[in-house]
Point group: C2
């Protein structure tokens, strides 16, 4: 028997398992991803996002954000985002590159209805996120569905690295090519 | 007395303290940063890097990498990188944007001499990192100084978020402006 990290199929199954766990379990390392985008002034930007939904069959993940946050403007300019997470127990780094679609308006109503009251404050800060304010607490929260956005990220490319004790392994899986996978030098 | 996260000076001191700790202590959360770069084909890329040196007075951080890794090619095309780390105990997200300088050749000899033998294998994989290989272990390690690069990142902009129990706080510090800092809506 091979270990899961010794085969392409094993790695592919494990990475989706872990992402699904992140969407379901607030304590999983995969709950919080770093999302990177191309900066509006060049270069890159990176910040934490919370993983909300995962579909392996459609190869997509979803996060929620304030429609006025800078990342939404960055995705409008260049929708190719990167997601990153490291799981220390699995010794597994997962990197995704994905075309992000920003969904707002009536299409988010059903999801918005399930957002707990205590969490809604994140969607509607006044002034908008990233605006200068005179004091650290000089803002209010006015939750509103108009400010709630689903970022649906259609995964194009997955790069995983397993740091084994004896051996590091790295593999890539691509939508184009039916996710069959190939080994890369680490 | 204010808590450290209630003042701009307190946040600024703490974030550099934490970065310095990351460079000194292999077990600190700040030891491993996510580094994001603009992708060669657009969008962004993100991966883990190890923090090797920090200078608050020069506002720079350093990481080491294989000179043939893709991130070096990405920085040659656009040197504006982003670094990200989340410290769960401090409840502190640190984001840096920095102009990265890639240093190789005789300028790295002194640093290379201090890299332990056991770590040198990371600089000289054959084939080069990211190249397809027929099996997961079909590569060798031939450490060589010519493949060792220091990424010296000159920090331009710092964005920190403290997730307090009652209150979230966000601040920005910029080189232009002498790092005096301002509050932002979170």
């Amino acid at each position: 028997m091979s270990e899961w990290f010794e085969t392409l199929d094993g790695l592919h199954a494990r990475l989706w398992q872990r992402l699904a766990r992140g969407a379901a379990d607030a304590k999983a390392p995969e709950r919080h991803l770093v999302m990177a985008t191309a900066g509006l002034d060049g270069g890159a930007e990176a910040r934490t996002v919370v993983l909300r939904r995962v579909s392996e069959s459609d190869a997509l993940i979803e996060v929620h954000t304030d429609a006025l946050s800078r990342k939404v403007a960055e995705l409008a300019a260049d929708p190719l985002a990167a997601f990153h997470v490291w799981n220390p127990r699995q010794r597994l780094q997962i990197r995704l590159r994905a075309q992000a679609e920003v969904i707002t308006g009536t299409a988010v109503a059903e999801t918005w209805a399930r957002v707990p009251d205590a969490s809604r404050g994140a969607y509607g800060t006044v002034p908008a996120p990233g605006q200068p304010i005179p004091q650290g607490d000089a803002f209010i929260r006015q939750p509103q569905m108009e400010r709630f956005a689903i970022l649906r990220a259609h995964v194009q490319d997955i790069d995983v690295v397993h740091l084994g004790e004896a051996q590091h392994r790295r593999a890539r899986f691509q939508r184009e090519g039916g996710w069959q996978g190939e080994w890369l030098a680490p």
